[in-house]
């Protein structure tokens, strides 16, 4: 690590150095807060920076270490959280004007587990409003920017977290993925992003978007970091009825596993069509070559209902969102519009003023799809198509251990390029959405750079609860294709 600046260390490097007392948590936290102070205005990766709180926590970690108290796996290491996780007494906006003043009375399960690991919370990271978007441009707090090219999007909806990781503004962060919102921003920012199996990480205290699809997961600078962070946040939680009660495997050990004999399926539908950028295709082919060179076997598979995934998603997710977002009525918390009218007018104006355009659009789609006379034609139909998509994956995983695909069809596009055309924007998630519909795990790992210097990611998918195969395969790609972990310093 000699000569590597602090902000470029991996999560595990930083944890090891604190453990060995080569650096204090205070020094580590101060270094990142200074960098955030210098660069956050440029990248807008954080909505809330916990300047005093983080230093206070770091001091407490150092003092605990001096007393010889048992340390968690991330003792003293600063990390960030997407602003979708409730943090007791700390502003939690979910990127929305309607939650501009919300101070949660409790911690989310993910927040609790991050705290229990000994990590220091640096702040709450920028995101698309209620996680609805693919570019972080729908955030009420302004768009986050891609550290590799500040005129480009950092992806979405966990764009602030991916930008913070890629700009060296935290060692790692936790995002959420409803239709690709961890993997797509990780891909376009050059980070590792992992969506675990649905139910693997508790959703308690995570602001709900589409409850049958939402899942929290790590965004990091390396695959071993992702494995370590997943170990911290995974596990059963009785407060979330969809949390799965089964043991958490040794994910870090999987990052050291070889891939000899691993069967890698290539779904042909992901490589057909005009939407796939040629540089992305070439980079994913390099990832495939890397796996083959380490002993993996390749086979062709087919996921015939892939073309219908986006349409099914854009019924299911808005339908669930329209129901989840009914709670924002200006009564118990959040923004309330000023009005002299009655209750209904107060609620309608609160929601009209508090929500942004994309959220309103999805509430309208969802309400329409669930309204009398349309339920079966839209929501019922989409849930049946979801079954066909799940069956496709089951057939593919009967032959292959993992599937390899592009994560995003293109490298990061320019800010504003797709904001006027919702359908074109939705197509950004075309390769990531089927994974959420099936509830399987997925990971995006950097596999190349475009000619214009923009990161490209490869996506790996596995059957339910086989995160270990994903971690092993992604680590093999990472070992074979070394890429810079942090974007060049704009101040350098």
């Amino acid at each position: 690590m000699t000569g590597v600046p602090i902000h470029e260390w991996t999560l595990l490097d930083a944890a090891e150095k604190v453990r060995r007392k080569e650096i204090s948590s205070r020094e580590l936290t101060r270094a990142l807060l200074d960098r955030i102070g210098r660069l956050n205005r440029k990248f807008n990766a954080y909505i809330t920076v916990l300047e005093e709180g983080a230093m206070r926590e770091a001091a407490a970690r150092d003092e605990a270490q001096a007393r010889g108290e048992a340390a968690g796996p991330l003792h003293g290491v600063p990390v960030g959280l997407k602003d979708i996780f409730c943090t007791r007494g700390i502003l939690t906006t979910c990127g929305s004007g309607i939650l501009r003043n919300f101070l949660p009375p409790y911690d989310a399960a993910v927040t609790e587990r991050i705290r229990a690991s000994g990590a220091v919370l640096l702040g709450k990271q920028n995101m698309d409003e209620f996680a609805m978007g693919s570019s972080t441009e729908t955030s009420r707090f302004g768009p986050a920017r891609n550290p590799w090219a500040a005129d480009r999007i950092p992806g979405g909806s966990s764009g602030g977290t991916a930008a913070a990781v890629a700009a060296g503004l935290c060692f790692a962060g936790v995002g959420t993925d409803t239709g690709g919102s961890i993997r797509q921003p990780a891909a376009v920012c050059g980070a590792v992003g992992m969506k675990p199996t649905y139910g693997r990480v508790s959703r308690y205290g995570m602001v709900a978007f589409a409850s049958s699809l939402d899942q929290a997961g790590p965004i990091t600078r390396s695959v071993p970091d992702a494995a370590a962070l997943l170990s911290v946040i995974a596990g059963h939680d009785r407060r979330d009825s969809t949390s799965v009660d089964r043991p958490v495997p040794d994910y870090p050990a999987a990052a050291k596993r070889d891939v000899k004999g691993l069967k890698v399926g290539l779904p042909k539908e992901y490589f057909e069509g005009e939407g796939l950028d040629s540089e992305v295709r070439k980079a994913v082919e390099k990832a495939l070559a890397a796996l083959i060179s380490q002993g993996a076997e390749v086979l062709d598979v087919s996921l015939p209902h892939t073309a219908y995934a986006l349409a099914a998603y854009y019924i299911i997710a808005p339908a669930e969102a329209s129901s989840n977002l009914a709670r924002y009525d200006g009564v118990r918390y959040g923004y309330r519009a000023k009005t002299d009218g009655g209750l209904i007018e107060m609620m309608s104006r609160t929601r009209a003023e508090g929500f942004g355009a994309e959220v309103k659009r999805r509430i309208m789609i969802g309400t329409y799809a669930l309204s009398a006379g349309y339920y079966e034609a839209y929501y019922g139909k989409a849930q049946k198509v979801r079954t066909l998509i799940r069956r496709d994956f089951e057939s593919a995983f009967a032959k292959a251990d993992v599937l390899l695909t592009p994560t995003s069809p293109t490298p990061a596009f320019r800010l504003g390029e797709k904001t006027d055309d919702p359908l074109t924007m939705y197509l950004s998630d075309i390769f990531t959405i089927p994974c959420n519909l099936a509830g399987i795990p997925g990971i995006s790992v950097p596999c190349g750079m475009s000619g214009g210097g923009l990161p490209i990611g490869a996506q790996l998918l596995a059957k339910h609860f086989d995160e270990e195969s994903l971690i092993a395969a992604a680590a093999a790609v990472e070992r074979a294709i070394p890429l810079p972990r942090v974007a060049p310093d704009p101040g350098a």
Binding site: N101, G334, Y368, K384
Partner: protein, 96 residues
């Protein structure tokens, strides 16, 4: 797929969203385009397909039907836009 301005306003009422005139018109066009795209699902025969209600196989979770009071009432009430003692104040429900 064409969607009328009246349908947009009806759905907005159901969703408790007041929409200014120009926003209703913009949404009418955008929703029409999105719903047209979604109708491609009609091409699939799903007559004998069971809908997915949960992506991961699991039994119905049960827990004791027991009350667990939240410890910090003040933290909840302090978020209210308008409160009176231990209550959330709302505008008049039954109007004159």
């Amino acid at each position: 797929m064409a969607i009328t301005r009246e349908e947009v306003l009806h759905v907005a009422r159901l969703a408790r969203l007041s929409l200014p005139e120009e926003e209703a018109e913009r949404l009418r066009e955008q929703l029409g385009n999105i719903l047209s795209y979604i109708r491609q699902l009609d091409a699939l025969d799903t007559k004998d397909v069971v809908p997915t209600s949960h992506a991961v196989e699991m039994g119905t979770p049960f827990r004791d039907d027991a009350v667990h009071p939240f410890g910090d009432k003040e933290a909840i009430l302090s978020n209210a836009p308008d409160r009176q003692e231990d209550f959330f104040r709302v505008p008049r429900i039954i109007e004159d």
